[in-house]
């Protein structure tokens, strides 16, 4: 059933942590189990990292935010009241850590032209096509959105959470999440298409470029 239980006998009366639910782990953590929180972190760190990296668009910032968030969750565990899923609660802490960082940052260009110029500056012209390039484009484009819209799009469109789950994480009504997503997508369309066109112009001699040109 549980491979760890076989490989590593647990002390008597000690259930293997990997078999416990998130809520049980959090409860154990609050009651002083020194390993319980680490197990929670192991379970969810990749998702938390993805959320933070997408939201902040910068690995260093994301690392700081995730670390702060986990430390904060460690300390605030007692404030978890079990009304939401532990994952929702963890996401909330991570997202808020990211939003705090974003909101403190300097002014953001507002006009569409400026947005696009900024995205161009952030996205080096690619010398080959590929996922990485698209990833850079998307990352650069996302950075130009207001933090609230960015967070909503990360949760709903990128992480694939339901609008309701995203609303629970963000602590806003579902309608607000939908509206932020709608406005965010509307802003992303021109930025992404501009970046895409630019990339395609840049590789006009490539086979793919030729194919595209010829329709």
């Amino acid at each position: 059933m549980n491979p760890q239980a076989n490989n590593r006998p647990s002390p008597a009366g000690h259930v293997a942590r990997s078999a416990l639910s998130d809520a049980d782990l959090l409860h154990r953590h609050i009651n002083g189990d020194p390993q319980a929180f680490s197990e929670l972190v192991r379970r969810h760190r990749d998702r938390m990292w993805a959320v933070a990296l997408r939201t902040l668009g910068d690995a260093d910032e994301a690392a700081d935010a995730v670390q702060d968030a986990f430390v904060s969750a460690y300390r605030k565990a007692e404030s978890f009241r079990g009304e939401a899923a532990v994952t929702t609660w963890l996401h909330r802490i991570v997202v808020n850590a990211c939003l705090d960082r974003l909101r403190r940052k300097a002014v953001r260009p507002v006009a569409d032209d400026e947005l696009i110029e900024a995205a161009e500056r952030d996205t080096p012209l690619p010398d080959h096509t590929g996922d990485r390039e698209v990833s850079l484009e998307v990352s650069a484009a996302l950075k130009l959105l207001p933090p609230d819209q960015r967070a909503a799009l990360v949760l709903v469109d990128m992480m694939g959470y339901s609008v309701e789950d995203a609303a629970a994480v963000l602590e806003v009504p579902s309608g607000t999440v939908k509206s932020r997503c709608a406005r965010g997508r509307a802003k992303l369309v021109p930025i992404l298409s501009h970046l895409r066109n630019r990339s395609e112009r840049a590789r006009v001699s490539s086979a793919k470029g030729a194919r595209l040109r010829d329709g």
Binding site: A50, V71, L153, A186
Partner: protein, 396 residues
């Protein structure tokens, strides 16, 4: 209607999310039926969703995972050491042994502490390296211990009187709650109402230094604004620390120090009123009575640092410490400093409340490698978030 007018992307996106009222939605749909550009725009919106959904979900890089583990291990250590799970309301315990390790009178033997061990935590730590230590005279060193132990009970101890005369401005401050960090549990002084009230009167005139109480509150001085002069704040978190400072005749003995010969030298010798801790906390405190005191000298230069300066020699910015100053009662600031100290696992060699690229910032320096004159520079916001990647600079 033809394609002469088009709906903007936002309206189309709202349509797709079902956010438009029925009448408007119907209008837009009717338009979409006959307008190719708007239909393409709608398709573009769907395309954005697809692109976003297709973005790979990266795994947390090993380095970040290790970093998180390390930070949590530090938290766990703090928790094991008796700190509350949620340290928000309290001042995280400083490490008194480390702070005092370089004090000239510190022979290595504990005070008259009962057999309570200093704890593995302390044993692991290297002695504090402080860049500027002001040695005490033998006389003041002799006075240090009694003053530390009994200072709060004996407001008129010779050391204190001498110090007061010398400084002329010493103000004993009342403490609302006391940290349980007196050297020995059985010597914890009783509340001294008379002294406290006298101190209160004096403190009202010039509360220059504060004592950080268990709940993080400190007597807050008025912030002088608009002064170009550097100000240095001393944050004291314990009676023991306060008494030690007094005994030392104002030669602050750790971190960035130095006492200028000018006005406004102040310190605190606070009569203490033990807080009412939970039994749990009390027990922890008895075990580690001396770990909880700390004080850092905090500059408030208001200087606007840029990256170039934070990569070069920093002694000019942090090395000189003017006299005077006022206390920080900023619990948030104190928590932040403690957090960074915990992060770095060592005491800072300099702290400045200033600006970084125009943003309010707390700059903290730690020795990275003293033999190579390398200083680690942390720049954090008032909310204690990194404003800049921790970097290295030189001291001299």
């Amino acid at each position: 209607m033809t394609g002469d007018t088009h709906y903007d992307l936002e309206t189309l996106a709202e349509l797709a999310e079902g956010l438009l009222d029925d009448a408007t939605a119907q209008q837009v749909r009717d338009h979409l039926a006959i307008c190719d550009p708007c239909g393409e725009a709608l398709a573009d919106l769907a395309g954005v969703r697809e692109v976003l959904a297709a973005m790979p979900v990266p795994a947390m890089p090993l380095g970040v995972a290790l970093r998180v583990d390390k930070a949590l291990a530090a938290e766990a250590e703090r928790r094991r050491a008796g700190g509350p799970l949620d340290p928000e309301p309290s001042f995280p315990e400083p490490d008194w042994d480390r702070i005092m390790a370089d004090a000239p009178w510190e022979t290595g033997a504990p005070w008259d502490e009962p057999a309570a061990p200093a704890g593995e935590r302390v044993a692991d730590l290297p002695p504090l390296e402080s860049p500027r230590m002001v040695p005490l005279t033998a006389a003041s060193a002799e006075e240090a211990v009694p003053a530390t132990v009994n200072g709060a009970q004996r407001p008129a101890s010779p050391a204190r009187e001498a110090s007061a005369d010398e400084a002329g401005t010493m103000v004993p401050l009342p403490v609302s709650a006391t940290r349980l960090d007196e050297p020995a549990a059985d010597e914890r002084p009783e509340p001294a109402p008379a002294a406290a009230s006298a101190a209160g009167d004096a403190g009202a005139e010039r509360p220059a230094l504060g004592v950080v109480a268990e709940d993080g509150s400190v007597v807050r001085p008025k912030r002088r604004t608009g002064s170009a002069r550097r100000r240095w704040l001393v944050s004291l978190s314990s009676v023991a620390a306060a008494a030690a400072v007094v005994a030392g005749g104002f030669t602050v003995t750790n971190t960035v120090v130095a006492d200028g010969a000018q006005t406004e030298r102040q310190t605190v010798a606070a009569p203490s009123t033990p807080a009412e801790p939970s039994q749990e906390t009390l027990a922890a405190d008895v075990d580690e009575p001396r770990e909880r005191a700390s004080r850092f000298v905090i500059g408030e230069s208001g200087y606007n640092y840029a990256d170039a300066e934070l990569k070069a020699n920093l002694v000019a910015y942090f090395g000189s410490m003017p006299s005077g100053g006022s206390a920080t009662s900023d619990a948030k600031l104190n928590r932040c400093i403690s957090k960074l100290v915990a992060d770095e696992k060592r005491d800072p060699i300099g702290i400045d409340r200033a600006y970084y690229n125009g943003n309010e910032a707390l700059i903290m320096l730690f020795w990275h490698d003293r033999s190579q004159d390398l200083v680690k520079v942390r720049v954090v916001s008032p909310e204690c978030k990194n404003l800049r990647k921790p970097g290295l600079a030189t001291w001299n």
